[in-house]
């Protein structure tokens, strides 16, 4: 109810209610369903159904209003909507858990308008930066739900935020200024969820026998003072698409500060999850050279926090900068075929010996996609390989479009390798997926 009251106030404040008459209205709905079966034990991992209504209205004064909702249910014992910690959402953004296994969410709700030479997008929206596929460096403006790790489409797992988004052309440059008034961060899986993180890179491992006390999440909640802001400058120069990005934000992942305490029952580790600020400086590039497209992005994070296993460390966390970058090459030299390779590296300079993650972590991705039968049949294989930890994820998939807006797919998600790695930790979650999508 709060959301609707908020948005009605917002629209009326803009004078939309009085000044504009709806000129053109469109309504559509997407129905999506997917069944995932664990290939290790034959159990149903997920049987999900979602309904995504979308409403667009154009007004006589050039304003455009978009609203996208989502009703999602999981009917299996595996994945559930409340697998993620809902405390990471602000009250304005948090999905409503209607019943066990059914949640409703106003995914996006924004108004677009031209204000002279400035283009304003106001409301709950997704702002996507970066050039990488499947891996994120600068696509961190919006947090993400990891309920299904990274298996869900980013468009669905990305969490839209209440944002003021201004764009304006400045000569041959385009400037985008964003102001995010929404203290929502990554939705991380609960410890008993199917895709709960267990990798020591992300989750502290107290010595055996020690009691662990996890404190409530300490989250920013001052709408203005805890807001995030960013600037992107884009240009097209001598065939190159270039952007320069800056973001001042609370890192979407909470820092797990740890301290030891002696209690009546023995020593105890108290874990205090807390969000911390960081500055992000970065840029992207892309250009085409014959059959090839080169693209990449780089991001420098001034303040990142990494777990350390050094017992002498005061809070179990090392603070330092992080440099992440992706370089990708796309090739389309073969008819109806798309081949893409990316190398992603994350470097933490001057990292201490006890840091649980590696100083330099490398992941490579390969994608081969081919269209058949006038693009009605698509086959693809995506391979993400964690070079540092020797783990990975293989995702072959075949999609067939039966008719306009009716498609089905079948595929597998195969995790392999070191269980300490980000992919290997889900070794027991290999699955076959099949699903359908209808649009009307």
């Amino acid at each position: 109810m709060t959301i609707w009251r908020y948005t009605v106030v917002m629209l009326c404040a803009l004078g939309l209610c009085q000044r504009a008459q709806s000129r053109e209205t469109e309504f559509s709905t997407t129905v999506w369903s997917q069944w995932a079966v664990n290939t290790r034990n034959g159990d149903s991992q997920a049987l999900g159904l979602s309904l995504k209504p979308e409403f667009t209205s154009r007004f006589g004064n050039g304003y455009k209003l978009t609203a996208i909702g989502r009703l999602k249910t999981e009917t299996s014992d595996g994945l559930q909507p409340d697998d993620v910690d809902r405390d990471s959402y602000s009250s304005l953004t948090r999905p409503s858990l209607l019943t066990q296994g059914l949640d409703a969410e106003l995914r996006e709700f924004y108004l677009e308008m031209n204000l002279g030479a400035t283009y304003l997008t106001l409301g709950k929206q997704q702002v996507v930066w970066g050039e990488a596929d499947g891996l994120k460096v600068l696509d961190v403006v919006n947090p993400q739900s990891f309920r299904e790790f990274i298996l869900e489409d980013f468009d669905d797992s990305r969490i839209p935020l209440w944002t003021v988004n201004l764009e304006r052309q400045l000569g041959s440059w385009d400037a985008q200024v964003i102001w995010i008034l929404d203290q929502t961060y990554h939705a991380l899986p609960r410890s008993d969820a199917t895709y709960a993180f267990t990798s020591s890179h992300l989750v502290p491992r107290p010595p055996p026998g020690l009691n662990v006390n996890i404190q409530p999440l300490s989250r920013p909640d001052r709408v203005i003072r805890d807001s995030d802001a960013g600037l992107r400058l884009s240009t097209f120069w001598d065939g190159w698409d270039l952007t320069f990005n800056y973001l001042y934000q609370y890192d979407n992942q909470p820092v797990l500060f740890q301290r030891s305490k002696m209690t009546a029952t023995g020593p105890m580790v108290i874990v205090t999850p807390k969000y911390e600020r960081t500055h992000v400086f970065g840029g992207t590039f892309s250009n085409a050279f014959g059959e090839w497209v080169a693209r990449g992005e780089v991001g420098y994070f001034t303040n990142r926090y990494f777990l350390t296993s050094d017992p002498s460390d005061r809070d179990g966390v090392f603070e330092g900068p992080e440099l992440s970058y992706v370089f990708g090459l796309d090739w389309s030299g073969l008819s109806d075929t798309f081949v893409s390779a990316q190398i992603f590296q994350s470097w933490v300079p001057d990292s201490p010996a006890g840091m649980t993650r590696n100083e330099l972590e490398t992941t490579v991705t390969f994608l081969v996609r081919r269209e058949f039968l006038n693009n009605t049949l698509q086959a693809e294989v995506l391979w993400l390989a964690g070079i540092t930890d020797g783990d990975g994820l293989l995702r072959p998939k075949v999609t067939y479009e039966w008719q306009d807006d009716v498609k089905t797919w079948i595929g597998t998600d195969i995790f392999y390798g070191n269980r300490a790695g980000l992919f290997g930790e889900f070794n027991d979650n290999d699955r076959i997926v099949m699903g359908f999508e209808l649009g009307f």
Binding site: S234, S332, N375, G439
Partner: protein, 274 residues
């Protein structure tokens, strides 16, 4: 002696029988405009500085299954440079997809192309080199789409080889052969035969042979009429003879008179959509 004379006469008559058609054709051919002349006429035809139009794409497979895409397209010339953009309006799963091209006149400069896919929410730079690839599931190649009603001068050598009628309109048949093997591979055509209406200098029928020399597809331009003084095709049907797949493009709301804003041909425009 008589036998020798008879044999000589027989040879002369036979020679005349075989060479006469060639002589007659040569006489006719000397009246026909050359292939290059026809190509120049086609490319000199007024297309308007800018155009906006609705385009309905119907794709029909051999079993009769039909898929329909509604789009709105814009095109504008900046001197010799051509910019065009296509926004998908339906079906739902393609709505918001947009395709932007900067087409440069210099042969050694590839086009700049971008594709916006709503599911990714990113404008992707795409390679323009795959001009023989089929355009988004249709039976037109990217090169067919790019040329619209024009023809490529650099890629083919042309010869006028006959006359014909299409829909009751007289036309010259022009045979176009790729200039080299590389061009054949790139375009996917080893021979093109175009029937060109010499009243309005538009191609009414094109036949394409694949790289192996087999008839590949036929394109028919129909419902050609003037819009704001510019001859405009309103229906194009292409049939792929190998796959029996057909694509029908239907143009409506064609407008050459209203200028198209430069801002439409930008990456941010394809991201925001119509």
């Amino acid at each position: 002696m008589n036998n020798t004379l008879e044999r000589l006469l027989a040879k002369v008559v036979a020679g005349l029988i075989f060479t006469l058609p060639l002589i007659v054709t040569d006489i006719q051919a000397s009246d026909w405009p050359t292939g290059d002349d026809i190509a120049q006429h086609i490319n000199a035809r007024d297309e308007g500085k800018a155009v906006s139009r609705k385009l309905t794409m119907a794709m029909i497979d051999r079993s009769g299954k039909k898929r329909v895409r509604q789009t709105r397209g814009f095109r504008k010339y900046y001197g010799q440079e051509k910019r065009s953009v296509l926004f998908y309006l339906s079906p739902k799963n393609l709505k918001g997809t947009a395709f932007l091209t900067y087409d440069f006149p210099a042969k050694d400069r590839d086009d700049d192309q971008w594709l916006y896919l709503p599911a990714m929410r990113k404008v992707r730079r795409i390679s323009a080199a795959d001009r023989g690839d089929y355009f988004l599931g249709t039976d037109f190649t990217y090169e067919d789409i790019k040329l619209e009603t024009k023809v490529s001068i650099e890629d083919y050598t042309r010869k006028t080889i006959g006359e014909d009628e299409v829909d009751g309109f007289h036309c010259y048949i022009v045979e176009a052969l790729p200039v080299d093997e590389k061009t054949t591979r790139e375009l996917g055509y080893s021979r093109v035969e175009q029937c060109v209406d010499d009243e309005i200098w538009m191609v009414r029928r094109s036949r394409f042979w694949d790289a192996r020399g087999k008839l590949l597809k036929t394109i028919l331009s129909e419902d050609i009429r003037q819009v704001q003084g510019i001859w405009t095709q309103h229906r194009i049907e292409v049939e792929n003879h190998k796959t029996k797949h057909r694509t029908i493009f239907t143009f409506s709301e064609v407008d050459y008179a209203t200028d198209v804003r430069d801002a439409v041909f930008t990456r941010k425009a394809i991201r925001r959509g119509l």
